[in-house]
Amino acid sequence: MRLSDILFLAYTTLIRYPLRTIMLLIATSIGVMAVILLTAVGEGARDYITGEFRNLGTNLLIVIPGRNETSGGGGPIDLAGLSPRPLTIEDAQSLSQIDNIRRIAPVVIGEAPAQYDGLERSASIIGTTPEFLSIRQWEMESGSFLPGASMRYSPPVCAIGKEIKSELFGDAVAVGEWIRIGDRRCRVAGVIAEEGRAIGIDVQKTVVIPVALGTALFNRDSLFRIIVDVRTTSRMDQTKQSILSIIKRRHQGKEDITVIKQDTVLQSFDNIFNVLTMALGSIASISLLVAGILIMNVMLVAVSQRQAEIGLLKAIGAKNKQINNLFVVEAIMLSGSGAIMGLILGHSITQVLKVAFPDFNFLPPMWASYVSLIVALISGIIFGLLPARRAAKLDPVEALSGNK
């Protein structure tokens, strides 16, 4: 029996019962469409999150005190002091001897009250160097960031977040005014335009001060971390080794720091979202399974409806295998065309969503299309097999007489 003939015969059954065919096509296409849409959302979320991270620059290395492999949440809990040996400003300075390092921003963080003209509010304090601005790619709303000076000594100057500015100064000009932070006084050099978060801190509620002032303010000699901006990203690993060996030398041969790449963080988010997308896809595939069972059900009905025809085919010389093939192909055609319809629908709806929500990037991954198509075809084969076998095994005499 020729393939073209099998396809033709299966096709004639599909157009003979249009309602049945349309219902099954809808069932399968909804399954495939669900896979496409859900994975598009998952993949879009991944793209959004990793995009946010990538904004921070993939050329960053982060040096944190303590020899812990997990980067953790990095919250204030593993804030210095607890590690065997503090990571100091001198450590940060020593890194400047590495060629491939363009900028170094040691960071110390904490909380302190900020006061101006009788008003007081609690602020997150970041003690760092002027390089921090370009590493974070922040913009200034007015004034300037920290002045360029050595890490050890710096004039008492600060840059404040927008919320701090409006709460302490209202509409008045803040630049040039002196505010009190904890027990220190410093002059406001500028207001930071940034509205997002950095190192888990809301930038708008932050006061940025020179790192030396920070260690003095919190009376602590260990840094929270050192952020390093690398010149050539291809030499990242080499730079990481250099950092480790320099600090090790300074720490009496003890390797008590951890250097993480921005990439590593990005990678773990990437992995999390990949798993999430796959989970969404698998959940959606369940609807494909349901469609498959529906196809099986309808094919079983078809077999009993077409008993006489099956008997006739046997009488005129059809082998059992041929009957089997006819029914399997019919099931595959149903699930296959349903899947193609679902792919078209899924991708069209994604396009519509892209227009409706331009901020969120809906990205149906390629694998979702392939996998859903293949799963649909396989479920067609598997769920078509049982009815087809039943048809092939019918006794020709009974089938011809139409008895069960």
Partner: protein, 225 residues
């Protein structure tokens, strides 16, 4: 060409065993025209089904063209049905969604013959049954007589040795019934072995040989002189 030796077919109905055919011995010559008659339950349909390899005997042998069919598997029997045996049924058994042409083509589709050859043979079969102008019609657009003629065209398109007809005129009025009978008798004159199951005595007596069954046994076997 057909020889049955001590052929029996038993059915189990509840606790009872029914002997549909009881040690039947029968020989049918090539190009013969045989009618099989009997009341319902006499075993005539079972005999036809066994002759057509749709059913297998419980015991005994069925030798067709010198080949013993008793040990054949499903596929081998399907092969014989495809090439050596043609069927006509009381209820025509056309596939409703296919045209007359496609229905006639079906046995050739199943045996994988190429479309050009198929088309030629279908056209010549249509011509033989006088339905050339109906080739694109679906069964529902044809009269009963025309449907049976399509079925006859389908049964001879593979050029079988034997044509088995099960009450071929049972669903037809007298006029179209006569046309159908004439048609299959012409095929018999052209060399086809014709075996007809009927309960219509008038039709039975047209044949060269009339076999009567009762309770699974041949009770009468008469040949026209």
């Amino acid at each position: 060409m057909i020889r049955l030796e001590k052929l029996s077919r038993k059915f189990h109905v509840g606790n009872q065993v029914v002997h549909a055919l009881d040690e039947v011995d029968l020989e049918i010559n090539p190009n013969d025209y045989v009618s099989i008659m009997g009341v319902s339950g006499s075993g005539k349909s079972t005999l036809l089904n066994i002759l057509g390899l749709l059913d297998t005997p419980t015991s005994g042998d069925y030798i067709l063209s010198g080949i013993n069919t008793s040990k054949m598997d499903d596929d081998e029997m399907a092969g014989i049905r495809s090439t050596k045996i043609g069927f006509i049924f009381q209820s025509f058994h056309l596939i409703p969604r296919l045209t007359a042409f496609e229905n006639i083509e079906m046995p050739m589709i199943l045996s994988g013959i190429n479309p050009n050859e198929r088309s030629m043979k279908v056209n010549s079969a249509l011509e033989k049954v006088g339905l050339t102008d109906r080739s694109d019609h679906k069964p529902e657009q044809l009269s009963g007589g025309q449907r049976q003629r399509v079925a006859i065209a389908r049964s001879i398109v593979m050029e079988p040795d034997v044509l088995l007809a099960d009450e071929p005129t049972g669903n037809l009025d007298t006029t179209s019934g006569n046309e159908v009978v004439k048609l299959i008798e012409e095929l018999n004159l052209a060399g086809l072995t014709l075996i007809v199951v009927t309960h219509d005595r008038e039709m039975g007596e047209r044949s060269n040989r009339l076999i009567e069954l009762r309770d699974g046994k041949i009770i009468n076997d008469q040949r026209k002189s």
